[in-house]
Symmetry: C2
Subunit: 367 residues, 2 copies
């Protein structure tokens, strides 16, 4: 059977894919949804703002309701199969049926078991469901998330706060603060939306961080991440990371996979790895980083602790290739005097780092 | 005597200061010029595009001529005293007089001996000349250039082509190409507008670069920089840097000041230091860098040659503070897959890197 899509549907799916990028990466995928009327005109555009908030479909339907738009006979285009589960936000399939939407076009299936079945539920209710439009783009959009789900591990965000010359501490160990206040505030905002934050025992021993999410005045955020400490050494009894809320885990391992498995088993779906160098490097070397956030300060140290301590790479052709991630506010943002760089692993693992002109230059005998 | 400026003149000087930022830094200062009519309306805005091109005043006058605008009785606002010398572009004072401009307001005096006297020439011709409007901003605009002129040394641009983790070569020495073709092309464009390019003998021995300015097809640019090699070791007779045009200098020293003094004596007014690590670090440690261009590739190596090898800094409070430089196309530009970062030394040498909120956070017991 050939599934046909109209030009208007193709255009609307492109809008949905673009809207999805407004959301943050993490435990949930980026999703966008557009509702078009029977004439193919785009009525509302929704997107998912991250775990615990309305799904894109519900966001779009709520916008229509707020604007007094009747969705009877309309078509919804959504980048991921609508969910069928009773999670924190209620099933999208039900919301779509209740809104009177008669057609749903989605790009790719939801890979989760608990969420699966949305398409079936819609069909049983008489909704016409088609899939596959924009599938390539939708798969790429959430490439790392699909990988994490399939591997049954948390989605991993890596955090680096560094100087221009990639130092995270000076020779004497001082590191507070390489980043500007606006970067620190952004880091605390990210802490407030993840499930767990991870550092090594070395970081606990040297920096004694609290690892809580706090606002500019130092007040704790409502939602706090679990504080995970990885490594074989004991955590001192008086370490600040213990806090008083019991949200602390010691993972007695040096293996990132073991740490992720343990955290996944504890229900953690989005982890932020904050440091230090050895932990950051171990996750990168293992290919277990889905998203990279770098706060780049316009400062130079020239020496001190490098952000990374080795990835097992000896030659340039094997360098890890990353690509700029436009989601969540953009790939490059100015935060106070710092730059916030946002990247994700490049699609193709083994890319040729020498495009044609560079190769030509090389052939000509050096730079 | 109190020099009075009208509101229109103040506004026009702000326009001139902003326009100046369109130019590139180097042997010549950034300069902007605005011509207003007797009613204070801005007619044309000029700026200086770098050594060998029209000065801002002549640029503005030429625009007016092209547009058929009569400048009789008009006022010119310019961020630097108009020159009086017969350089590559002819004296601005003469062009202003010839255009019938009756009033000139400039921000700061030209510090050069050969150029001095523009104001006097204008006054002798009956032009009303006032100075000092926007002087603070104009001095800051070309802070490094004034410093280089006063020190009788070339203006120094430092070039770093690095990975996200600030590596300029992998463990096995491979470094071609960390940067993308667009960054390489930009680097060659910069080479084409400077007087001299400097590397260390180590770089010549390891990378054997040609250090010429070439276009994308590999053809040499019309204007080539002098190729200077600094260090005590001999340059191999068959090194590519020798070329065939005689534009090569060996500076047998490890002292950046000596190298600059020698280059200045040879007439060089704009130097770009390209590497390697030790040379870059020596110039930075000596506080002899006026402009920093960093090509940042979205790649990670984890090990290899760091961009910098030590600046004599042991604690974060002594870190070198830089600020984003909006001139010459902006502080942060996307070049292919790379970012091009453009910075200059921060105004105040000993800044407190811990703003109030960060200090408060620290007082609360760590991050």
């Amino acid at each position: 059977m050939v599934t046909a899509f109209t030009a208007a549907e193709t255009t609307a799916m492109a809008t949905a894919l673009k809207a999805a990028l407004n959301g943050p990466r993490g435990a949930n995928p980026l999703v966008g949804a557009v509702i078009v009327d029977p004439q193919g005109r785009e009525l509302v555009t929704g997107f998912h703002r991250g775990a615990g908030t309305a799904h894109a479909e519900v966001d779009a339907i709520a916008q229509a309701a707020a604007a007094g738009i009747d969705l009877s006979g309309c078509t919804m285009l959504v980048t991921l199969e609508p969910c069928n589960h009773l999670g924190r936000t209620g099933p999208c399939a039900r919301a779509i049926i209740d809104a009177g939407i008669t057609d749903v076009v989605y790009a790719v299936d939801d890979p989760h078991d608990p969420a699966a079945g949305g398409a079936a539920t819609l069909r049983q209710a008489g909704v016409r469901v088609r899939a596959g439009l924009g599938a390539g783009e939708a798969l790429d959009l959430n490439r790392q998330w699909f990988e994490a789900v399939a591997a049954k591990r948390p989605f991993v965000t890596l955090h680096i706060a560094q100087t221009l010359d990639s130092r995270i501490a000076a020779e004497d160990g001082t590191s507070q603060w390489i980043s500007c206040p606006e970067s620190l505030a952004d880091n605390h905002a990210v802490r407030g939306r993840i499930d767990a934050i991870l550092v090594g025992t070395q970081t606990v021993l040297v920096d004694n961080p609290r690892l809580t999410a706090r606002d500019a005045a130092g007040n704790p955020a409502t939602k706090q991440p679990v504080r995970a400490v990885m490594g074989l050494r004991d955590i001192p009894a008086d370490a600040a990371v213990h806090g008083s809320d019991g949200l602390v885990l010691h993972l007695p391992t040096r293996d990132p996979r073991e740490a992720l498995s343990s955290l996944y088993g504890s229900g953690m779906r989005h982890l932020m790895v904050e440091g230090g160098s050895r932990i950051l490097s171990a996750f990168l070397a293992a290919g277990l980083v889905d998203e990279l956030i770098v706060y780049l300060a316009p400062t130079l140290l020239g020496s001190g602790t490098p952000a990374l301590t080795g990835l097992g790479i000896t030659t340039l052709a094997d360098a890890q290739q990353w690509e700029w991630d436009a989601s969540d506010g953009g790939a490059v943002r100015t935060l106070g005097r710092d730059l916030r760089l946002h990247l994700r692993p490049q699609r193709t693992v083994a890319l040729d780092p020498q495009p044609s002109r560079a190769t030509a230059e090389q052939a000509q005998g050096g730079y």
